[in-house]
């Protein structure tokens, strides 16, 4: 028998600590719940500290706020006061010039929908916000990406910062932002820049990293300066990846529109969505939400055409379109109805509502069965463990201590047998999984979590990662947010597992079948940009307030990056590699397995990272359904104007996401090294 590897020791330690926790927990209460006396008043420290700091920073912040309000007001005035025929005309002309007849039709029908929905003025307010926030976010993201690429030493710091920017939910720092920057749309603008810049930075970093070394060397040999190398050679060759970043930034900025509305300050389309959501008026909120989706799709396709295709269409036609629209605009006030007088989709909205009602009424039993099935047999066991979830009422029998003992015995034997056969880690891991299944994620004792995460970190990334994981988890414990944190962990674990499997599959199918992708792509755009508030209503009507509804809402949002990045990774394999594989007689499936998947692994892993982060960021929206996890704490803080609790709960959420992400990434890295990639 070989000497035990560190992984075996780690797994063994986790098993022993877990076993100790299970035996001790009936006698010592502190094993399962962190003693309240050991909680530091961190939230009130943060509250006082930040409030003091804000008093200092306030003048500066208010200046920034004033400065930002100028471009914002300018864009706002121009867009709101321009006659709509002129705005539509100019955008149509641009669409024609960039993308020919197809893009023209898209622009006309999209903007036509916006106009006829009666939300023209509101959507121009929204557009003003996006017009200002996207360039800022792109600029910030690009600069950060470049810097991280130039100075490798700050790479890790930058990545952590980006993760934090994406994981600390906006609602958590809304109160602080309001205190600092004052009331109004500028706060929405700043929040939107904070949230939308990271995807750009990330993709710039990844794109520059993956520029072929030969290309770089060629530039150096030609005597280019560093700046020339960067901007003439490296950035252009990374443009495809960077465009993914641009696309994602635009999408993220549009998804933040709703946050800007929560603050208020101007009457935008997000505000309309909030109002209709409050009334549970699904149809009307869908129409308002679709307006945001339309803007996202138009911005995406136009920026795509601008960057990816060299073909430009006749500017004469474009000019003609503009001239016609100018002519129309001059008579608009007298001849055409005002932008607020349209309401073409009222009937449609009402139809959607009554369809939803009828559907709920007709399928009540089926919906209940789906919900109860998922709750009883998947979610609840995951949450509170088989030990508590298996009841006569649901499973038909009562879980007893003897059953737990039997399961442990069986898996213990399996572990020993597997250890003797040389796969001790797998055996011990199975034993741990069986333990988690019986105890449940929400009931995991904290000593076990500390030790096992530390051990995992050690195995995956050495002492540094282990220390990181342990300190971070300790921070949550000390803040006294352990219970909501475990609930968050449970919801996200469930959602991410489903998203990875389902999203990966959809991405895979899309990459081989363009027809599928042509359907999947707009659906992805739709889910990523429509304010998910819109879907809370039907989800609530089908499945009522509760965790299953929250779980579905998280899945709907977090699956998109998995699909997108899998697709993008699988389709961006260099032609030469594919040709070489085909020439050597590989079948389609072999090409996929041997060439495409390994080559695309880094991109897919980025997708996994994004899925984890998205799932955590969605917890806050899911709290509107009614959950009891960290997301709800953030709302409580928002309601009480409690700066400390908000920031602490946001930080705890970011910590969970970061630790999960770092562990996954470290294991993936190890795997890649093992495969020699």
């Amino acid at each position: 028998m070989k000497r035990p590897t560190p992984a075996v020791w780690a797994a063994l330690t986790a098993v022993l600590v877990g076993a100790a926790c299970i035996t001790l927990s009936p006698y010592f209460h502190w094993v399962t719940s962190w003693p309240a006396g050991a909680t530091l008043p961190v939230t009130s420290w943060i509250g006082t500290g930040l409030t003091a700091a804000f008093e200092l920073l306030k003048p500066l912040a208010r200046t920034i706020s004033t400065l930002l309000s100028y471009p914002m007001m300018f864009a706002n005035t121009v867009l709101v006061n321009s006659p709509y025929s002129l705005t539509i005309g100019i955008l149509t002309a641009l669409g024609w010039y960039l993308g020919g007849i197809r893009l023209t039709l898209l622009v006309v029908s999209g903007l036509g929908f916006v106009l006829f929905s009666g939300y023209w003025i509101a959507s121009m307010n929204t557009l003003a916000l996006v017009f200002v926030s996207v360039p800022f976010a792109l600029l910030v993201g690009f600069a950060v990406g470049l810097l991280a690429n130039e100075f490798k030493s700050i790479n890790r710091v930058v990545e952590t910062t980006l993760d934090v920017m994406q994981t600390v939910p906006t609602f958590a720092y809304l109160t602080p932002l309001l205190l600092l920057f004052g009331f109004g749309p500028v706060v929405g603008l700043i929040a939107s820049i904070i949230y939308a810049a990271p995807p750009m930075a990330r993709n710039v970093m990844l794109g520059l990293q993956r520029v072929e070394p030969e290309i770089k060397e060629a530039a150096i040999m030609n005597g280019a300066t560093r700046v020339q190398q960067l901007f003439l050679i490296e950035v252009p060759s990374a443009v495809r990846q960077i465009m993914v970043g641009v696309n994602q930034t635009i999408m993220a900025a549009l998804s933040m529109v709703i946050i800007a509305a929560v603050i208020g300050g101007f009457n935008d389309i997000g505000w309309e969505v909030l109002l209709t959501m409050r009334k549970a008026a699904f149809g009307q909120s869908l129409v308002a939400g679709l307006v945001i989706v339309i803007f996202a799709i138009l911005a995406d396709r136009m920026s795509g055409a601008l960057a990816q295709s060299e073909v430009r269409y006749s500017w004469r036609i474009a000019l003609a379109v503009v001239l016609v629209s100018v002519a129309l605009a001059t008579v608009e006030r007298s001849l055409l109805p005002g932008p607020d007088s349209y309401s073409a989709f009222k009937g449609l909205a009402a139809a959607a509502d009554s369809y939803l009602n009828a559907f709920t009424a007709a399928n009540g039993l089926v919906l209940d069965a789906v919900k109860n099935g998922a709750m009883f047999f998947v979610l609840l066991p995951l949450k509170i463990g088989l030990g508590q979830a298996v009841l006569p009422f649901t499973w038909g029998f009562m879980w007893t201590k003897w059953m737990s003992a039997a399961v442990y015995a069986v898996f213990g034997v399996v572990a020993v047998v597997m250890a003797l056969r040389g796969s001790a880690v797998l055996g011990l891991s199975l034993l741990i999984v069986s333990g988690v299944m019986i105890v449940g994620i929400a009931n995991l004792p904290w000593p076990f979590m500390l030790v096992s995460l530390g051990a995992l970190g050690w195995v995956a990334g050495g002492p540094k990662l282990a220390a990181f994981a342990v300190t971070m988890i300790m921070a949550i414990l000390l803040m006294g947010l352990w219970e909501p944190a475990l609930l968050s962990l449970y919801l996200c674990t469930a959602a991410v597992s489903v998203c990875v499997v389902l999203g990966g599959l959809i991405g895979l199918v899309s990459s081989v079948s363009p027809a599928t992708w042509s359907v999947v792509r707009p659906v992805c755009d739709f889910f990523q940009t429509i304010p998910l508030f819109v879907f809370l209503i039907p989800v609530l009507m089908f499945f009522q307030i509760g965790e299953f509804s929250a779980f579905l809402a998280i899945c709907a949002y977090a699956i998109v990056p998995m699909v997108r990045y899998t697709y993008h990774g699988l389709t961006s394999t260099p032609e030469e590699l594919l040709e070489a594989a085909v020439a050597s007689g590989a079948s389609d499936w072999q090409v996929m397995r041997e060439v495409r998947i390994p080559y695309s692994l880094p991109t897919i892993l980025l997708g996994l990272n994004q899925t984890v982060l998205y799932a955590f960021s969605m917890l806050v929206i899911a709290a509107l359904i009614g959950t009891t996890d960290l997301g709800q704490q953030i709302y409580l803080a928002l309601g009480q104007g409690d700066v400390g609790l908000g920031v602490a709960a946001g930080a705890a959420m970011a910590i969970l996401a970061l630790v999960a992400d770092r562990l996954v990434q470290a294991f993936a890295m190890k795997q890649r090294q093992a495969l020699g990639l």
């Binding site: 109004g184 208020g264 549970a280 709920t360 009540g364 609530l540 089908f542 509107l624 309601g639």
Partner: protein, 320 residues
């Protein structure tokens, strides 16, 4: 204090001396008074009525959409000048804090008679025949039970940030129920909607005036009468060992303003202070907006034109 406002207040004093009783100066008529428009229809109606009263007095008015939870900092800094329908039941801690520090001024009650309680759609009375008597809930708990709450009944509570009145009352009254916090007002409305469509049992903490009361034919459970004693003295109410074993005390609905309002627009301050709107006045207007789909602007304008007797005296008292 700047020169202009000094001048204004001097003028106000002079006017008083010259004999025009109790009326105030208009103040900075060229600057718009910014009124908060919050997320719910009733508030928007109240605000637009107030706005048109101010306009009738010769002011400019700007309506600023503002999140109800997040606007208090702005009110304390004068970025919003007044919020005209604030519910005592779910106003944030931040407001209480700022009000205590004198940074937000309470302008008195609006006149709405708000009621909160345990509400259920009318069809539920057939499923639990003892309703609306609260004792009926004891025997019907199993009717309201769901997968998550079994064997207890399910009571949908207010969103967490509004407090836990449902859970508190269940405990005090000893009801075999479990409180599930709704995440938002939309979630509450969706619950009622689904319950009515599917004819399923539901009881939730809710309030009126609200459009859903009429739309889903909601009734209130008759809990022991809510009085202050009930919250001070355990002996009051059916449970002799607990306080809070009774219905809600009627919520105070009031108006709040930036403290600088009084000085900058003295007459406007008087108008907003005098502003009253009753439940009977507001409810049909809410229906016209939420059920008939009219805009709040149109509805309030019609009301202002038709009911000058109700609001003119307030404006005149403040300006003449």
């Amino acid at each position: 204090m700047n020169k202009v406002s000094k001048l204004v207040s001097t003028c106000a004093v002079l006017t008083l001396l010259s004999g025009a009783a109790y009326a105030a100066e208009l103040g900075a008529v060229d600057e718009p008074i910014k009124l908060a428009i919050n997320e719910w229809t009733g508030q928007q109606i109240t605000t637009r009525i107030a706005g048109q009263m101010l306009q009738a007095a010769g002011y400019k008015v700007e309506y600023v959409t503002a999140g109800y939870q997040n606007m208090w900092q702005a009110v304390s800094e004068g970025q919003i000048d007044a919020a005209l329908e604030v519910w005592g039941s779910n106003v944030t801690e931040q407001y209480k804090q700022l009000n205590k520090e004198g940074k937000v001024e309470d302008l008195g009650e609006l006149g709405l008679v708000a009621r909160e309680g345990f509400a259920y759609p009318a069809h539920v009375a057939e499923l639990c025949p003892g309703l609306p008597k609260w004792e009926a809930l004891k025997d019907c708990a199993s009717v309201f039970a769901t997968a998550e709450t079994l064997p207890e009944g399910r009571l949908v509570d207010y969103p967490g940030e509004w407090g836990t009145p449902g859970a508190d009352r269940i405990k005090a009254l000893g009801l075999p129920f479990k409180a599930i916090p709704a995440g938002s007002e939309g979630a509450l409305a969706a619950e009622f909607k689904a319950s009515v469509e599917r004819k399923k049992p539901l009881v939730a903490v809710f309030w009126q005036p609200h459009w859903a009361i009429a739309a889903y034919d909601l009734k209130f459970v008759e809990l022991p009468e809510g009085k202050q004693e009930c919250f001070d003295d355990p002996a009051y109410g059916p449970n002799k060992d607990a306080t809070g074993d009774c219905d809600f005390i009627p919520t105070r609905v009031f108006k709040a303003a930036w403290p600088g309002l009084k000085e900058k627009w003295p007459a406007a301050y008087e108008i907003l202070k005098g502003l009253k709107l009753s439940t009977e006045e507001q409810q049909p207007l809410m229906g016209a907006v939420d059920v008939d789909g009219k805009s709040a602007e149109d509805v309030t304008q019609t009301w202002i034109e038709a009911n000058s007797a109700a609001w003119k005296p307030v404006v005149e008292a403040a300006t003449k």
